[in-house]
Structure formats: C-alpha cells, structure tokens
Symmetry: D2
Subunit: 349 residues, 4 copies
C-alpha cells in the first residue's frame, strides 16, 4: 500500500485508521523557518469536524521538526490520538458487507478483513491531510496565495458557478454556499435526509487566488492533473472539473475561447487559471463532486462475508452529507498541490 | 519540467515537440518476454490520426529493449520522426498570442517563446503515449483485460451512459458512439463547424473489463486518483468522473448505493468498479470531458506579445473536434494506469 | 529536507531528533499478513544500544497498520519516545562549533542552529531504521534470507575478510568479530581510548545469505549502488566496498575473475554476489568503514558561532567507537535494500 | 528494470545496448535557457573513448528540448547511433558464460539471454551518462563549480591522496595522474598487461570545487550517499570512499577530527567537504575503485549455458584498464549528483 505519500518536494506521508490508536503524518521537505500557527490548524480541524456525530478533541502531538514553534527543515511529524474510537459499534460488520463501502475491496487486496469502522478508508483519515494542508496554507498565505472552498450543490439545490460569481460572501453561512437562497434549500434537503435516514451527495467548488504563472510540470505533472489526482484521492470524490469543466463538452470554441485583454489577463477565464497544464496567473477554479455518505440510517439488504443475503441494520454514528466537513479537506489538498508546484518552480528559476 | 514520466513500476518518459525533429519515449520497467505486435500499435496510431489534416507516416524507430521483437527487460526506447512539420506556418505566432493556447503560460514558465506550433503543448505529443499505451494494452490483453473508449457527447448531441448501456456495438461507427442516432447528430455538428470555422467540445467514456480486484494504492494512489491524473494530463481535458460521477452530487444514498448480489458483484455498479480507491473486480467506467480545439478557422481578436490588440487570422491545419482522435489516447493512458497498478499489486502478493 | 524516505515499494519514512519528544517512522508498502515479532525488534534495538552511555528504554508505540499483531497493508507507523533527553547538557553548544560535527552544515542549509545534541544528525536517528529494518528482516527470514554484520576492524586491529572466511562463530563475542585474537586486540584499543578520552574508527562487514538471483535494477538501481547509498546514509560512514572491493584496484583480471563451477556458482565469489548490479544468487559480501566518533573526552580547540577561537570542553555522554552498536543498523539498511529489490522483482516476474 | 532514471529534479533516463541500434537519454527537468556547448560534450565523449579499440564517431542526434541551441525547459532527448557494432564477434557467447560478466545474472533476472556484447551491462552504456553529465557540468561551471577526476592507482602503482595533494597538474598526462613518476609506473603496468593479455584494476579520485554549503538531503539523501550510489552505479565500481575514507577505520578521533579555522573552513578537510551528509562549502573529495576489465586476451576455463565445462577463447575488442576512459564518466555522475542537489536546495531557499 505504497500510496500514502503526496507531493515531490513538499512530501506528506500519512498514516492511521479510524478506530486505531492514532492518525498522523510526516511532512518531509517542509522549508525551514516557517512559524506554525496552531490556532489556524485548530480552526481548520474544527471545520473538518463540523456536524460530525463522533466527538474527537483532535489535539495534535508534535514529534519532531519544530524548535520553538518554527520549522527546522527536518521532518515534521505529528499524530492525533483517537479518543472516541468505538470498535464495538462495528462488531456486526465482521459479518456483513456494507453497500458502497471499501471493505470488500480491502479484503480482496490485503487478505485482511478489518471490521473496525472502515479503517484506512474512513473519512477520519483526512485529519492528517488537514494538518499538513494547513501548514502549507500558512506558507502560501505569506506569499499572498489564498484558497477558498465552498458548497455549490447538495442534491438538486445548486449554484452554477460558471461564469464565475462573486464568492466574497460565501463564508458567511454554514455551508459556505455563495447564494443565500440555495443555502436555505440545502438546509431543507439535509433536514429531510435526517428524517428519512437517507444521505445526499454534493459538489464543492474551490478558488485559488494569487498563484503566480508557471506552476505545473507538463505533460504528466500538469497542474490540472495534479489537482485532479489530489481531489480524487479524497474518499467520496466521484468527479473533478476545472474552468469550463464538464460544460466544455457541450461548448463551441467560439463560445469558450479565452480572449486576452491588453494586460495579458483574459475576459472570462474559461480556462480556470490553467493553460497547457501550467498556471496562468489568473484565479484557479475547480469543482469536485462527492457521492452521498454510503451508510444510511435505514435497513439495507446486503450479504454477509460468505455471500449469504442479510439485512444491515444501521448503527454507529454517520453523517448525512460530506459537505461542509469536506471543505477544509479540499482546501488542504489544493494547498499541498500548490506548495509542491511552487517549490518545484523555484528549483528551476 | 520534470513532469514527463508516468508510472512507478511501468515507467514511461516521453519527449518531443510538434515541429521538432522527433517525438518518442522510453519505457523503463517493461517486463521481459512480451512479444510486441507492431500491427496493433500501428492501428492505434492510425486511430490517433483519424481526420487529422497534418499527414504523418508515424513510423516507429526502436532504439533498444527488443531482441527479435520481444522485450528484454532493458529500457524500451523509440522515436517517431516528424515528416510534415511546417514551422513556417506558424511564423505569425511569433508575435500574436493565440486565445486559450499554452504559449503565454509556457513563456512565463520557461522564459522562452517557442513559436512553432504549440511545441510540447501540441496534441502531437500524444504519439508517444499511444505507443507506450499500446504495449501496455498488449500485456493486459494477455491477461484478459480489455479497454475500450467511446464518444458520449459532441456539443449537445449526447448519450448518457449512466446506468451503463450495452457498448458492444460502439466500435461500429467512426466516433465509436454507442447510439447510432446520436452518432448522426454528432456528424451534423461537425459538418456545421467545418462550415462556420468553429470547433466543438466532447465527452469520451471508457470501460475497462477484466480488471482483478485489488488495484490502486490508498490513500493518494487510489486507482480513481491515478485515472483522474492520467486523463487530466491529456491536453484538452477539462473534467473527469467515474461511476455515478458528477451525477452523484445530485443523488441520495438510497438511490446510488451499490447493493451486493450473492456472488459479491453489485446490482448496478454505481461505484464504477472502484471502491475506496481500489478496483472491485467489476467493470471500471469513467468519462473525460474535453474542450473545443482552441484554434478556429475564424478571425479572432487577441494581443501581440507586447500587449497590443491584434487580429489573429487562422492558418495552419487544425481539427474541429478532439474526438475521435483522442479515443486511443484515453485507452492508452488507462492502460498505463492499469498495468502500473497491476505490477504493483504483484509486488505485494 | 525531502530525503527521509528510503525505498520504492517497501518505503520507509523516518523522523525525529536526538533530544526532541520522539523518533519514529512510517512504513508504506509493507505487505499484509506479516506477523510482527516484537521480541526480535527489541533484541535488535538492544544491540543498537550496546555500551551506550545514554539510557533509553526504546519502547515502541504503534499507531497504525497492525491488527492483532499482523500487518494489514496500511501504513505501519510507530514512535519511540525519548526519555533520557538532556538538552541542557548541550547548552554550551549554542556557542561553540564541534569539530567534525554537522552543526555548521545544518546551520548553513536551514538557517537554524539547533543546539540540542546533534538533532537529526545524531546516531539516535538510527532507532527508526532498526525498527523498520527488523520488520523487513522478519519477512526475509521467512524466505530463508539471512543478514549478518560483524566487526572487521577497529583502529589497526583488523581481520581481512577477502577471500571470505568462515563467519559462523562471529556472533560469539561482543563485537561479532570473526577472529578471537583480533577481538582481543580491539578490546585493548577501546580500553586505551577510554583512558585517553579518544575515539576510534572501525570497519564493519556484512553477509547476506539466501538472496535469489535477479535483485537490483540496472543501471542506476544496481543492487550494489543501492547498498552503497544505503550504507553511506548511516551517519559516520566514510567508505563502502563489496566483493573484492578496494582491493580490486590493485588486482589483475587473471587474479580476481570469477571462474564458474558447473552448478553456475563460482570458485571464489570475488564479485561478492552481485554481477552487473544484479544479485547472482551467491552470498553478498560488503564492508563499510566508519570514522571515529567526533566527540572526544579531551579539550578541543574550535571556534564559536561568530568565528572566535575557543576551547570545547567535552561534556555529554559519548561513545568511543560506533561498533558494535552500528551492527544492527547495517543489517537493517541491508534488509531494507533487499526487501525493496525483492518486492520489485516480484512485480516483473 | 525500472532503474534507468537518475535524479529527482534534474532527472536523466538512459537507454541503449552495446550492439543495438542506438544509445541515448532523456533529461527531464533541465532548466531552460542553458546554451549547450556541443564542443565540450564532444571533448568529454572523446575522453570516454580514449584508447578504446572499438571506433565510434559518437555523433549526437538531438530530438527535442532545444531551440537554436538553447534549452527550452521541455525534455532534452538525444541518441548516439552505434556504427561499429559487431554482434557476430560475440556469437560464441551464445553458448559460453564469460567469467565475472553480467550475462548469467541478466539471464536469471529477465529470462532472456542477450548474447550481443554485454547488452545493457556494457561500458558503452556510459555514453548517455557523459552527454547528460556534460550538460550538467556546463550549468555548474556557470556557477563556478568545477569537477575534476584523476587516476590514483593502477595495480600497485598508486598515489595516496590523503591528506590531499595539489592536483592542478593532474590533467597533464594521459591518465590525469597527479604524480608523474606514478604515471610512468602505470604505463609500465598497462604495457605488461597488453603483453600478457591480462587486465588490471584502478582507483579514480575526484574533486569538486566551488560547491556551496547546504547540498544533500538528510538522512537517506545525504550527499555522500548520493555520490556513493551514483559512483557504484558505474559498471565496474567495487568501492567508494570520501574524505578520510577507508583510512578512517584505522584512525583515532584526535587524528582526523577537523579543526575549524576562524573563517569556518577547516585545517585539513578530513571530512572531504561533507558533514552530516550536507556539503560544507569546502572541496569535496572522493575515490572510486574499479575492478579489472573481466575480458582477458587469454583462454579462460568456464562453462557453457548448460553447465558443461568449456574454454573461452578471447575475441572481440577489449580494453586493459577502465582508466582513463572512466574519468569523464566519474565527472559526469558527480555533476548529475551536484546539479540535482543544487536545484533541490534552491527549491527550499
């Protein structure tokens, strides 16, 4: 399972399972001299927990790489201990396969059936991403690069952010939804899901402002390819698009070609800030679609581990929608992409 | 620009520009003992040229790695010489920025303004991908793994392949469009573009059959993340989705949860053959959206390299739509993902 | 400092400083189903401490990757907390540069002057190597691959293991020195150093038995190159040789060419079990030379951090010779090389 | 055989066999704007051929990455066609195993018996290293970093460069031997080998001047570890040492500790310019020992591929000693290490 490292220069390796002793990570290649703002990390971790039924203090233990709160250049290692792990909640899972969960695939791959709450495939794994990403974000903010994720869609309540809208007030509601009336519709959908024991999918948008031109390494390390890989590595992600996105398939060149202004910016930025896989200096826009949480609070027909039909009775503590919890995760993965590409660019300049 | 290598175990490094002497690649980590079927490669290269106005024989020169047509385990290196390169067609581009092209980003990144036909950002770069991918496909076919790409959408003519349809007859028309009536509408749209000098976007689907369970390395090397990165590394790609895809954002868990059958397959495979980032053994389905070719046969307002307004008069030889040419490219990148993950799985078993 | 990961498939990332809270590592790509024998790890850790003046319990905290003591395929993360860290012992080092220490180089590289006991450059860093290496050794032993390091030289007391000698009784004395009379001379040299406050260098040999033919990836991933890089990454290493080694420079082809026997083994194995960078199936022999511990129990002239002459008065707790403590470290790094190359070979077979 | 790429940021992938159509490489991550001096490359290639019995023009064909002789930032690909390949010289090798050659190991690894002149294991493979290394050297020379290799030992004729001697006149004789009288003894030894049909080993030294402090990435990417891996990847290398080297094993701390001068340089540079794996800014000194060329012009007893005893009658064209041909190879591999670590350092600054 040698897939737990992200990045080439700012390299993050994560570990930990949902109901094991701890989750954490190692940042190898963090520039020295960065003052780590723990309050900012804590704030992002809180956003990552928002609405979660499992209660974790998410306190960070630092093992190395810091001297008086400043990075020294050596590996920055950290862990978050699980306090509210409840393996016993999941005992029945020793026998029943949960629909649309990773248990079966893990079992086939590793020959081991870890019945405890999804193990490595749980959303709790994102704790380490958010910590590492928050440190990257602090470095980027010093260089006036800002990343903001927002909820564009939950079920059929949606904002279509193309052409792009003003997002400055997006942070004002709980879902960071840029349109107040859509936000209200989203609330309704979630309430309804709570009542029926159902769950719902969502689409998250993200803008990155202040990125210099030149990030991304053609042809396989295009910034768009890296962002896509980063976002699709988040548990429930099912789709990624940037700029004109999926809409591009339905468009004519005369409609979505980007016309240059005399300051080398473009009129509409249909390209989403990336051209030929390289950042253009304009704002980067991308969206990620997530599937509904697969654990319902409804009885579900399934099979047991021997293939016999069974009924899965929902227990445990599960969320209705991955948004808004996923917003800081999207921001964090974007930050890891951008910092890595930015350090890479510095090497070649 | 250290981004020209794809894969960890079956590692492909490509090189070459649209109007330079040659394009090619090196496959490092190709298993020994594979009989290379040149006819199959040639067929895929022909599909990659279909409808292209530039005429290239695309003959492959092999430099190393083969003994009597069989791979020896040493690096497999090859080149395709450009025969129909016409740098002079592009002279005016020395001065004018082409809308939605990569010239500006390349210039900002490298400080070099390569005026020749898009250089590394040209679609011609995919020649090396198709050659490498075809060799991967031959290895996979021996293991009963088959990859097939098809055109789902051109402009507003579209097939919605979700839930999945029978694709067995897709290969019968020029676009590999699985519905004959949509194929005809696509033809109409392309004809209209030819007449107006416009171009149009498209969406390509792809299915991979016969993949064993267990491919993909959580959490950052999820098979879905690798496929997304691979597809978004193709020049004009703007969006990627798999299984339920973007539709997942609008769905309820009760609608798209995958119910197990007693043979451990699922009723609908909404997961698209990947669960928790690991292949499940069911067919893998994904789609890629591509933008319209940015070079129109229409005059376009733009700026010159100093920022002065100008009119770009289209010359050169350009295509109207990236499909169906892109189909073997999508298949090839999928093959490179799958072979790499398959060899990786073997290491751990 | 993105240099803390070792291996391609069995990937070990380590962290931690000598006087920070903890040291540890993450093994990404550990095959599932390995029963971890903690007693064996503890024994190797004890050997790594032998004769050390700093007393550490070296208890391992496991964070993830284990279920009932068996690896699950997910990242195996662990830490060892520092209990006997004494930053205050090193206070004067805030001002004085220690001869042949890494402080100056670290300061120039990172712009940070970590005055605490060598930080990441301390030999204590090898704790994580030994833990990871011990797990690799357990996997290898199941496949009848055995690794044994021994002391060949301390000062001018030396065994010349070329042609190779019987090493079966090497483990019987404290230094694992294969000749009893040389062992006694070594003891004398160390005693003399204790008396004079001096330190002394050493040469360690290592044999790997049971390796199948085919390990190593020409041309840059030759097994000899990997072993050399692995050994030279150990703190005090100054030289590496395998097979005929440095002696080869003084030899004629007619003397050290390996003559085949009819079972495809060779008469003398001057090649040291590696030919063309690939293991031949014969025993692998290599040696590593280490410099004396640079901290003496003698006053040493030096400069302070501003360049003023000064006298460094030795304090702290320091060893006289890196052997025999380094023996399990050499074995561990050898194990990490071999397991990685072995898993890689499996991918291609 | 995924071991043909060297470097992380300035990444070189090589290909080609001794008697195949061509050898070559791809440099991915070469900074843009470097003016390539072909005359310098040619000069290094000539040194690499010096005394060789096989005559090759070694003309370079460039495929990509250059515009008017200046690097563009895209992959720099090149090939050198084999003109004097004589597979028929090697026909008998189809049946007989050559002592101390890689044939057997290759056959076991790949299941393919490439009887043509050593294939990938031939010294001819170094052509691509020298071309890539020469481009790196040009970049480094612009930054006042200079690399010089010299012959320290051939058989028992040797210079001991520790403490270091003045090397300024080393380039004046054919072997770049820093002592004229040793040079003469070396000539005698080679003459004698020519007469007896024997071959002889050698030791090559190398100094790198002008390296800034801070190169190398602890703990596994130490500059010493990278240099060791790079040097031991050269075909016939059997040993590597830097600074005090093997001699360190016989030394006391009080003898080889490096005393600081008030300008932060050291009195003797016993550390060889690397401390804690990081360059200190002082000259870097290392040595590499090479075994004798294994092909003798004497009849040698061996076995055929079925294990039957046989006599190998030497034919083909073979060299007596790898020096001085190997000198530009050592310089090139050193340059690839240094440029990669230098670009890496820039990323973090």
């Amino acid at each position: 399972m040698s897939g737990n490292t992200f990045g080439n220069i700012f390299r993050v390796t994560t570990f930990g399972e949902s109901h094991g002793p701890a989750l954490g990570g190692v940042i190898d290649g963090c520039p020295s001299g960065i003052k780590v703002d723990e309050a900012f990390i804590r704030q992002q971790l809180l956003r990552r927990q928002k609405g979660s039924k499992r209660k974790e203090p998410d306190e960070i233990t630092w093992f190395s790489g810091l001297l008086d709160g400043v990075t020294t250049g050596t590996p920055l290692a950290f862990a978050v201990y699980n306090k509210d792990a409840r393996p016993s909640d999941y005992r029945q899972e020793e026998f029943l396969l949960k629909p649309s969960h990773a248990h079966y695939a893990y079992k086939e791959k590793y020959g081991v059936f870890d019945y405890c709450g999804g193990g490595r495939a749980s959303g709790r794994e994102t704790v380490a991403r958010v910590i590492a990403g928050s440190i990257a974000m602090q470095y980027l903010m010093k260089q006036n690069i800002f990343i903001q994720a927002y909820t564009l869609q939950i079920g059929d309540a949606q904002v279509r952010n193309f052409p792009y809208m003003d997002l400055s007030s997006a942070a004002e509601n709980a879902f960071c939804c840029p349109q107040e009336e859509v936000y209200k519709a989203m609330q309704q959908i979630l309430l309804q899901c709570e009542n029926t024991g159902d769950t719902v999918g969502c689409k998250v948008g993200c803008v990155i402002k202040g990125v210099p031109a030149g990030l991304g390494e053609p042809v396989f390390g295009k910034l768009s390819a890296r962002l896509a890989g980063a976002m699709m590595s988040i548990g429930a992600a099912k789709g990624f698009e940037y700029g004109a996105g999926m809409h591009a398939a339905a468009s004519y060149g005369s409609q979505i070609n980007d016309q240059y202004k005399t300051d080398f910016s473009t009129k509409h930025n249909f390209s989403g800030g990336i051209s030929g896989g390289i950042s253009t200096g304009e704002d980067i826009y991308f969206n990620v679609a997530f599937k509904p949480v697969p654990t319902l609070m409804q009885d579900m027909p399934t099979i047991d581990i021997k293939g016999n039909p069974a009924i899965l009775k929902a227990t445990g503590r599960h969320d209705v929608c991955i948004s808004p919890k996923v917003l800081p995760v999207v921001e964090s993965m974007a930050a890891l992409c951008i910092i890595d590409s930015l350090l890479e660019l510095k090497a070649y300049k």
